[in-house]
């Protein structure tokens, strides 16, 4: 068991040294890929994929970064945000709605899954109260760019927030986030009616 932890720690250190945002890591695939990894090995690597910012947030207080100054933290995070070519407000509102939470499936969505934590469309009852309600979001006069950054990398505004950094990890592509922003700011969307 000792070995397990040691090995894990070593892999972790190795990756920490080469710590880069996931989006950048993707560009340099390694040759070792061909070797088939055992499940145990895979899990160990996945755990050691923890980046330096996640590590800073992994203390019992959870929502306060440890070891990194808050301003630096925000600046680093903001630097990772990539903007789509067509601007932060996308055109495909229907796609935005589906990513936000498909009303046909009771607000389910494999990608955005916003209703898990936020309420919005009054027709969807099964919405969480972890985040603030997004009812009438478009009417609050919030800059769409801020909305975009919030979804792309919420830690740029609110370090160690519980909101997943959806763009940073590549869960949503920049264009997809732009569509969600469009859906949230559209005056005709059920959120704002």
């Amino acid at each position: 068991m000792k070995k397990v932890f040691l090995a894990g720690a070593m892999v972790g250190l190795g990756l920490l040294v080469a710590c880069q945002p996931a989006a950048q890591q993707a560009e340099a695939p390694k040759k070792a890929e061909k070797k088939k990894l055992s499940k145990t090995e895979k899990f160990r690597i996945a755990l050691s994929n923890q980046d330096k910012y996640q590590k800073a947030c992994s203390n019992p207080t959870q929502l306060v970064p440890e070891g990194i100054d808050i301003e630096t933290f925000k600046k680093d995070m903001l630097a990772t945000v990539k903007f789509p070519e067509g601007g932060v407000v996308g055109k495909n509102i229907a796609r935005g709605e589906k990513l936000f939470g498909d009303p046909k499936k009771g607000g389910k969505s494999r990608r955005g899954n916003c209703y898990a934590c936020h309420c919005g469309d009054p027709k969807i009852i099964a919405c969480g109260n972890i985040g603030p309600s997004l009812r009438g979001y478009g009417k609050r006069g919030i800059d769409p760019k801020d909305t975009y950054i919030r979804i792309y990398n919420s830690w740029a505004q609110n370090p160690c927030s519980v909101m997943p950094r959806l763009g940073y990890h590549g869960v949503l592509k920049p264009e997809e986030i732009a569509d969600i922003v469009a859906y949230m700011h559209d005056p005709n969307s059920p959120l704002n009616k």
Partner: protein
């Protein structure tokens, strides 16, 4: 009454058996034909929705919001002497086959009571219909909202 249900059952099983055969009638299976509540009532009771009499003697206990449609607890009781009752029917409107269960009572039961867990395809009323010995049909219903549970 029983022969009718048996017929239906046979038809249902037959349809499934057919679709299991590879490639055959897949299309018809892709969208199984939904039986409307009216048809289901007609099939089991011989009359549609209009033939039911709402009654406050029948109580349905079911959750208002269900986190999982697969397991909705339903308890039905009725303030009617059991020897006047022939059977109790439970229907769920939005299911492909709205008929869920039939309970035949005898005086040995002492009380009109039945509890079970049922499947609900989506938000819909759950109906309980009591068929009296004199042939009249008393009904009650309760709307159950089915939502997505957990993280979704």
């Amino acid at each position: 009454m029983i022969t009718r249900r048996d017929l239906f059952k046979v038809a249902g099983v037959g349809a499934v058996a057919l679709t299991v055969a590879p490639g055959m009638v897949r299309e018809s299976f892709g969208a199984p034909k939904k039986i409307s509540i009216d048809d289901a009532l007609k099939e089991h009771l011989g009359t549609g929705l209009s033939g039911l009499k709402e009654s406050n003697l029948i109580h349905i206990k079911a959750p208002t919001i269900a986190e999982s449609g697969a397991n909705v607890p339903v308890q039905v009781s009725a303030n009617i002497p059991v020897d006047q009752v022939e059977a109790l029917y439970i229907f769920a409107d939005a299911n492909f086959n709205p008929w869920v269960a039939t309970v035949e009572f005898t005086p040995m039961n002492g009380e009109v009571f039945f509890a079970t867990r049922i499947k609900l395809a989506k938000t819909s009323p759950v109906r309980a219909v009591v068929k009296m010995k004199d042939g009249s049909l008393l009904a009650a219903s309760k709307e159950v909202k089915v939502t997505v549970g957990g993280c979704g």
